[in-house]
């Protein structure tokens, strides 16, 4: 690569203080700062240690089941009558979502750092399940904070976490969803700072989390590059992923950011609609500071954080990872949104056409494939990240559709 291409790269962030443009940073209580600096140092060391990479690779293959397939969704393609649609099948990973890629990295890091007590926040429960799973695998204590509302709508995952030996703490404060689970996890961390590793589930939080979680998730995009070259002999023309905090999306996008010709779409949750209750922080929010970083937030004119709403617990968050905030401002990624209803429709279409039940989160991305693919020529290669499987959502969807199970 030429020096010029390097300086114009979208892939060099963050700077040493954790900034992507004006976003990111380390906005945390002093109690946590020494720990965060220790984590940053440990991660920098692990990154260049061949034994860490070898460990990662081995568990990725034998425990998680990577690489995940890049699958040509033939019937969906025929049905839409435009772009050739490929699914990146993250839902086939052990535990059923992309979340485990990041958790594996953080748990191996926690082991290196000698931390035996792991805490996590979770929305849909997928990150909680992945964390509980790896804690079981390595014999670590695991405490998962989950908003009381989410405990109710993601019952299968709550039970799974308990079976895996984790303690699930329903969070009753604030709006009782993901942001409050994150507050409570941060409160736990401040209290048990010396013994505890905080395993954050998305590309948010203070530096180095957004960069570290991204790095662990980049396996998605790196595999996609290779797999698409093998399948089609060239790179894809467009990429689509849903965005909650943004970890499955950045994992797919990041390895392609400097391939300027590729269109990239991040899909936020538009909930009941962008003029009503939603969770689309980039489309409907403004820059602010929450949970350790500066990013786009849903808030009122006084800077008080507002309730987000999405049918999907994993997207129900009033913020977004700082790197996405930056990619939005510089215009490299197009951030669009899908409503609850569009996601539900996409869920049903995908189930019937492809025999794949996608997570409600991923269904937001599929909803936009349904919208965009018909407008593209037949030789347009479109990749959508199926970030998770929909099993966890079955009770909730059955209820919405008025079915008894």
């Amino acid at each position: 690569m030429s020096a010029k291409a390097q300086t114009n790269s979208y892939r060099t962030g963050p700077d040493e203080r954790g900034h992507f443009g004006m976003f990111g940073g380390r906005f945390v209580a002093e109690t946590l700062m020494p720990n965060i600096l220790e984590l940053e140092k440990a991660y920098e060391e692990a990154k260049t240690d061949p034994s860490f990479k070898a460990d990662m690779d081995s568990y990725m293959t034998h425990y998680i089941g990577r690489p995940s397939p890049l699958y040509f969704a033939e019937r969906m393609t025929e049905h839409l009558g435009g772009a050739k649609v490929y699914f990146k099948r993250e839902e086939l990973n052990h535990t059923g979502a992309h979340k485990v890629n990041n958790v594996l990295g953080q748990i191996l890091l926690a082991r290196r750092m000698g931390k035996k007590r792991i805490i996590a926040e979770t929305g849909a429960g997928q990150h909680g399940v992945a964390t509980a799973t790896l804690c079981a695998r390595f014999g670590l204590e695991c405490i998962v904070y989950m908003g009381a509302v989410d405990v109710e709508r993601q019952k299968p995952n709550v039970f799974r976490m308990k079976m895996l030996g984790a303690e699930v703490v329903p969070v009753q404060s604030g709006t009782k969803t993901l942001k409050d689970a994150m507050n409570e996890a941060l409160r736990d961390w401040v209290t048990n700072v010396s013994t505890t590793f905080y395993c954050i589930g998305t590309v948010a939080g203070p530096h180095p989390y957004p960069a570290m979680v991204r790095d662990f998730q980049c396996v998605i995009g790196n595999e996609t590059r290779e797999q698409m070259m093998q399948a089609e002999g060239r790179l894809p023309d467009s990429l689509i992923a849903c965005v909650g905090g943004g970890s499955n999306a950045i994992g797919l996008f990041h390895p392609f950011l400097d391939d300027r010709g590729i269109e990239i779409y991040g899909v936020e949750a538009a909930g009941h609609g962008l003029d009503k209750l939603h969770a689309a922080s980039l489309t409907g929010g403004r820059p602010g500071v929450l949970h350790g970083n500066r990013t786009y937030l849903l808030m009122d004119s006084d800077g008080q954080i507002q309730d987000a709403h999405s049918i999907s617990a994993g997207l129900d968050y009033p913020g977004i990872g700082p790197e996405h905030a930056w990619l939005h401002d510089v215009g490299r990624v197009n951030y669009i949104s899908a409503t609850d209803q569009e996601a539900l429709d996409a869920f049903q279409l995908c189930s019937k056409l492809e025999g794949i039940l996608p997570a409600l989160e991923s269904s937001h991305a599929i909803a936009k494939v349904i919208e965009l693919a018909p407008k593209k020529p037949k030789d347009h290669l479109m990749v959508v990240n199926i970030s998770g499987r929909g099993d966890k959502d079955i009770p909730q969807i059955a209820e919405i559709l008025g079915a008894k199970i």
């Binding site: 203080r17 940073g25 380390r26 906005f27 945390v28 209580a29 002093e30 109690t31 946590l32 700062m33 020494p34 720990n35 404060s173 604030g174 942001k179 409050d180 507050n183 941060l186 409160r187 401040v190 209290t191 048990n192 700072v193 010396s194 403004r286 602010g288 500071v289 929450l290 949970h291 350790g292 500066r294 937030l297 808030m299 004119s301 006084d302 800077g303 008080q304 954080i305």
Partner: protein, 279 residues
């Protein structure tokens, strides 16, 4: 010119005692009761007053202050109204130092320059912003110092000798030692460890060191006052307030008095320890 903060610590030193610093949430449980509480604090024995700026997501606060913030926000409190409360307080009391304490987002959204100008004009003396460590000094700390407002830093049990100089670098007014690793309103600290920690911090700074987190009554305040230049009390005052609210969380005739009664007890605790001998 000596600041109000310096003058107040000077006065306490002259009286041979530690300072009592009280924290209440601005606008809790409603604007007018909150103002009555604020103006009663110095008379009850508070030397420095901290007013909390409510935030929906106070990630370093325990249940008491979380709930106080939500009560205040429910009543429509915002940054403009909090600064108004400060102005009203300042009209009656030109000497008691006022510290605003909260989280960065409401200040950031208000606009840093505008906030500093308005806070200074209203009569604020210092700021404590929980989620701004020295790594983020450019955001508010340095502009605040320039605007003539003290940016008071939190030092914690995890702030070791290597890190202390960075934490103390751009601070002014006093240093706030957080006695435990934890959130507000949690455990009561080990007083022996606290005085060791205060001595350690004092080796790094000439500023007064005050101690907070976990102080619940006059006896605790006295125990802390032995080693520290001041004692901060927050959650205990908020719990006293909360205990008087009616079932709709509205103030009752006992609300202001419940707070002042505890402040008097705390003040007696602080005054029971003579610091002349040590000096």
């Amino acid at each position: 010119m000596t600041s109000r903060i310096e003058a107040r610590f000077e006065k306490c030193r002259a009286e041979g005692r530690a300072a009592l610093v009280t924290y209440v949430m601005a606008g809790d449980p409603d604007l007018e009761t909150s103002f009555e509480i604020m103006r009663s604090l110095p008379k009850a024995g508070a030397d420095i007053v901290e007013f909390g700026m409510p935030f929906t997501d106070p990630m370093a606060d325990g249940p008491a202050i979380q709930a106080a913030g939500l009560r205040s926000l429910k009543g429509g409190q915002n940054t403009v109204k909090t600064l108004d409360l400060v102005r009203r307080f300042r009209k009656e009391d030109g000497e008691t130092p006022i510290i605003l304490m909260g989280y960065f987002n409401p200040i950031y959204v208000y606009g840093v320059e505008r906030f500093l100008t308005d806070a200074k004009e209203a009569g604020v003396d210092g700021l404590i912003v929980v989620d701004l460590p020295p790594e983020e000094d450019d955001e508010l700390c340095l502009p605040a110092l320039k605007a003539g407002l003290a940016f008071i830093r939190l030092a914690t049990p995890t702030t070791d000798d290597k890190r202390l100089p960075a934490v103390l670098a751009n601070t002014a007014g006093f240093v706030y030692y957080v006695s435990i690793t934890g959130i507000t309103g949690a455990a009561t600290p080990d007083f022996g460890q606290v005085s060791t920690a205060v001595e350690r911090i004092k080796r790094h700074t000439p500023l007064p060191v005050v101690v907070g987190f976990g102080v619940k009554n006059g006896a605790h305040a006295a125990a802390i006052a032995k080693g520290a230049d001041g004692v901060v009390v927050g959650s205990a005052l908020i719990n006293a307030l909360k205990g008087t609210l009616d079932s709709d969380e509205r103030a009752t005739s006992r609300t202001v008095e419940a707070v002042t009664t505890l402040v008097k007890d705390l003040s007696e605790g602080v005054r029971s320890v003579s610091k002349r001998a040590a000096a």
